[in-house]
């Protein structure tokens, strides 16, 4: 189980990075589109949240496969 938690923690770290990157990408796009500041930041948070929720269950098995049993 310890190994399992390491895998998850590793996946969470990657997921956070991916979601932050996507959030920043959204922020840039929203700014370029002229959206109000609150919409820019709120949207970036929402995109980051959904991104990590999508990524995490996909990343965990991938990381597990790479790190082996």
């Amino acid at each position: 189980m310890t190994g399992g938690i390491d895998v998850v923690q590793h996946s969470i770290r990657i997921g956070v990075l991916v979601s932050l990157a996507l959030g920043l990408l959204f922020l840039g796009a929203a700014r370029a589109a002229g959206a109000p500041p609150v919409a820019q930041y709120g949207g970036a948070m929402w995109v980051s949240l959904l991104s990590i929720l999508i990524a995490l269950p996909l990343l965990t098995p991938m990381v597990r496969r790479r790190t082996g049993p």
Partner: protein
């Protein structure tokens, strides 16, 4: 129940773990993923309908405790049970450690604690993995006696209790969520109330701070479970429906609070306080959970009913006295006494007394079965009329009832190909929905709002307009609604709930499906092949025709023949004696019995010289049978064996004997043809005889001159022609053909189901159950397809509408609370649709046993002398 065996030198245990708190298909995925983590777990199958995890594991590397931790870590519970035993002959404190250690070492035991002053032991165990009898045996093996203090509930009761607890929990949640949510809704929609009701609602109800105060206990009370479960899942990298609920409720609440304390932040302002969305969303989801808990248990009712058949106690004769002991302590060889109205505790052989026993709970047969000394009795059946004693032959997991329950549990554990597909879809569903929610958000944020937004936008089915919501508020609203409206539960529950109901319905009728694949195979059949001898027919000769001449009465002719055969062990002789007894004739003893090999018999009966035999015997003894020749030839054409009877040198008549059809064979064949199936018969008989039988009983296709060992090849040949074939036969003799068929149906096994091969086992020797099994298969798969269709249609239409597909044309959007209502009703409607299977009654009606013998068919003639 736990079973152990060795595979490739490694030990392999299997356990059935009852899981609490499962609500949707993604739960299956979550738990299967979690249980696959501990090392040593070889195979995991989780069944949502049964709320059980079936695990195969190596006990050297994986423990049940680890599995429990894995399950609880992702937000679910494992049902545990407590057993309290009174210990006698308890000595020094040292022995308590010995007992505790021994019991704790048993697989499935969580904890064991001996209380020395009270002389008791309390054991906590997983009910699906070990039974109290195993624990008691382990303690008895150490030399201590045990006595149950308080009867621990059976496994089935514990599951029911768990379900009841869940129902009570959700009722408590609803009692808090609904009144507060309705107040929030009244306050929010105060200005839009119809029929002039607005003045009746105080203006303060619209105050955003009050709405906040009313919504908070709903979100952090009944709604808190979704956040907790989401957190547990995410810690292990898995997501389920709780995540969608938590994100939906959380987003609505967060925006509402933000717009209350910071109205000018740009999240839609005062017009976009979604308190009613957060509150009603929670209330509807809790309502859905409650309805699911209420309805889901009903699909497995038949199986729990089977489990409930096992009586808790048995009266055993010890030292010439009847002593009441727990049923699971009865040992093989014990004499068990049963009174009228009592349930039989274990399997055995009746040794004293007689009675009628109601076996309907196991076989589906409504008529009580007469039992006398030497007859087998089955545990779980109900003694009706008389008192009797029997010797226990099978106890514990070896009883017929335990075998049947095990088979049904195994069937629950299996997944039909269609279900595997649905599970795959449901497994990726959450990710798909989250992806769609993200796409919907991006579209409405960057493109949709600027292009299509209209301030007059209304929520569907409400008069409430959206007002001046900003781009972020609008896009977020649609995104959240997508999360809420999606319902993987409906997709996930569609197949297992119907399979559970189908397996249960089969068990009710004495039909055991060995897995979901068996049900699916039964539903797709095109052809049913019956083995002839012993399946369509009784497998032994019976008297079919009696033709007396010269004024001799039929009874006299049969009596005369029976008298000379009364001590015969030849099948033909036995058939004649049986016919006499059925006619209630007195069969006199004969004298000077003389068997004439290959021809017949000769004996003296009541002063007359009687001859019984074939044509050759009559010719040898110069008995004229000319007047019987025409009828004899006709019977022989039909494949019957003709025996002439002569008394004192003169022919008195003939008796024709043949194998006979079982009483319901023709009904079953007719019903199968009505179902559109081709009915075939497979036999070793020659083609002419087989064709004649086929015509008589309405068989479409006759497969004649097939040696027993070639039956499987014949089935294979038909399958190669593209036919989906069922083979009906004896589960032991026809095993290869049953295994080869798409659906092998083993018939008439009685309750000794363990030895049977085949995909479907019929407990009763009644061919009409083949029809019932096929009907159950078809209806179950019909329900599966209906459920899947509606579940997919719901999601495929609901999600795009929630994402705003129709918004450009209609300027209507679905509110989150309406989405929650649709979501809750969709999974409940799938379960309710499944429950309609309970109304199934076999099309082929049961009629009382009117005729002991079915019509005769031309079995191969059995001649005296071993022809």
């Amino acid at each position: 129940m736990r079973q152990a065996n060795a595979v490739d030198g490694e030990r392999k245990d299997s356990a059935v773990i009852p899981v609490e708190g499962m609500s949707c298909a993604s739960c299956v995925h979550t738990i299967e993923t979690a249980l696959a983590n501990p090392k040593g777990v070889r195979r995991v199958t989780v069944n949502l309908g049964a709320e059980k995890a079936f695990v195969e594991y190596d006990p050297h590397t994986a423990t049940l405790h680890q599995m429990e931790q894995a399950i609880t870590a992702v937000g679910y519970g494992v049902a545990k049970q407590s057993l309290s035993l009174k210990l006698t002959r308890l000595g020094a404190a040292g022995s308590t450690q010995e007992i505790e250690a021994t019991v704790r070492d048993l697989s499935g035991v969580v904890s064991a604690a001996v209380n020395l002053p009270a002389e008791t032991i309390t054991v906590e165990y997983y009910p699906g993995t070990i039974i109290p009898a195993d624990i008691k045996r382990a303690i008895r093996a150490l030399g201590y006696e045990t006595e149950e203090r308080s009867e621990g509930p059976a496994a089935a009761d514990s599951e029911r209790d768990a379900r009841q607890r869940e129902i009570r929990r959700q009722v408590r949640n609803m009692l808090l969520a609904w009144p507060l949510s309705l107040l929030v809704m009244l306050g929010t929609f105060r200005d839009y109330l119809p029929w002039g009701l607005t003045p009746l609602v105080p203006e303060i109800m619209s105050n955003r701070l009050l709405l906040w105060a009313l919504t908070t206990p709903v979100v952090f009370g009944p709604g808190w479970q979704f956040f907790v479960n989401t957190h547990r899942g995410l810690r292990h990298g898995v997501t389920d429906m709780n995540l969608l609920y938590a994100v939906g409720i959380g987003a609505a609440y967060f925006i509402a609070v933000l717009n209350t304390v910071w109205p000018n932040a740009g999240f839609g302002g005062p017009q976009a306080t979604f308190y009613e969305a957060a509150a009603l969303l929670t209330a509807f989801i809790v309502l859905g959970r409650y309805l699911e808990a209420l309805t889901r248990g009903r699909t497995s009712e038949a199986i729990r009913r089977l489990m409930g058949l096992q009586p808790k106690t048995a009266r055993v004769v010890r030292n010439n006295e009847e002593v009441e002991i727990p049923a699971d302590e009865v040992d093989v060889g014990d004499i068990v006494a049963v009174r009228p109205g009592e349930r039989i505790a274990v399997d055995g052989i009746l040794i004293e007394g007689y009675s009628a026993v109601d076996e309907s709970m196991l076989s589906g047969e409504s008529m009580p079965v007469e039992k006398q000394a030497g007859d087998e009795v089955t545990g779980g059946t109900m003694n009706k009329t008389g008192a009797f004693k029997f010797r226990a032959t099978k106890v514990g997991k070896d009883t017929a009832l335990a075998q049947i329950i095990r088979l049904v549990e195994d069937a629950q554990a299996s997944k039909a190909p269609l279900q595997q597909l649905a599970d795959v879809v449901a497994g990726y569903f959450i990710q798909g929905v989250l992806g769609l929610a993200l796409l919907a958000f991006l579209f409405w944020f960057f493109v949709g709002y600027q292009t299509y937004f209209d301030p007059a936008t209304r929520f569907a089915l409400t008069p409430y307009t959206l007002g001046q919501v900003g781009v972020f508020g609008f896009a977020l609203l649609l995104s959240v609604t997508v999360l809420i409206i999606s319902c993987p539960c409906a997709v996930g529950i569609a197949t297992p709930s119907a399979m559970m109901a189908g397996v249960g319905k089969g068990a009710e009728h004495g039909i055991l499906f060995k897995g979901a694949q068996a049900i699916e195979a039964m539903s797709r059949l095109q052809m049913v092949i019956f083995d002839k001898t012993g399946t369509l027919t009784r497998g032994g000769p019976s008297v079919t025709d009696v033709l007396p001449i010269d004024g001799v009465a039929e009874a006299e002719l049969v009596g005369m023949a029976a008298a000379v055969e009364v001590n015969s062990e030849h099948p033909l002789g036995e058939a004649i004696v049986r016919a006499a007894r059925e006619r209630k004739l007195v069969v006199h003893e004969a004298e000077a019995f003389n068997a004439i090999p290959g021809h017949g018999v000769q004996a003296r009966s009541r002063g007359r010289e009687v001859l019984l035999g074939n044509r050759k015997l009559m010719e040898q003894r110069s008995v004229s049978i000319a007047r019987l020749e025409a009828e004899a030839a006709r019977f022989e054409e039909e494949g019957k064996t003709v025996m002439f009877v002569a008394a004192d040198g003169r022919a008195t008549g003939l008796i024709a004997v043949a194998d006979t059809l079982k009483e319901h064979s023709m009904d079953a064949i007719r019903a199968l043809r009505r179902l559109g199936l081709t009915v075939a018969m497979i036999t070793g008989d020659n083609r002419r005889t087989a064709a004649a039988i086929g015509r008589q009983v309405g068989i479409d296709e006759v497969l004649a001159e097939v040696l027993p060992g070639d039956k499987a090849e014949e089935v294979k040949r038909l399958q190669a022609q593209g036919k989906r074939v069922a083979m009906v036969g004896d589960g032991v003799n026809d095993a290869p053909a049953l295994a080869q068929a798409d659906a092998g149906i083993a018939i008439g096994s009685g309750t000794d189901v363990a030895k049977e091969t085949g995909h479907v086992i019929l407990i009763k020797d009644d061919l009409r159950d083949v029809v019932v099994a096929i009907e159950i298969g078809r209806r179950t798969m019909g329900k599966v397809k209906q459920n899947l269709f509606w579940a997919f249609v719901y999601n495929l239409t609901g999600i795009p509408i929630a994402a705003g597909l129709l918004y450009p044309a209609l300027k209507l959007i679905v509110s989150p609370e309406l989405a929650a209502f649709f979501m809750a009703t969709s999974s409940v409607s799938v379960t309710l649709n499944t429950l309609l299977l309970k109304r199934y009654a076999p099309s082929i009606k049961r009629v009382a046993d009117a005729t002991p013998d079915g019509p005769a068919v031309s079995a191969p003639a059995i001649a005296r002398g071993g022809k």
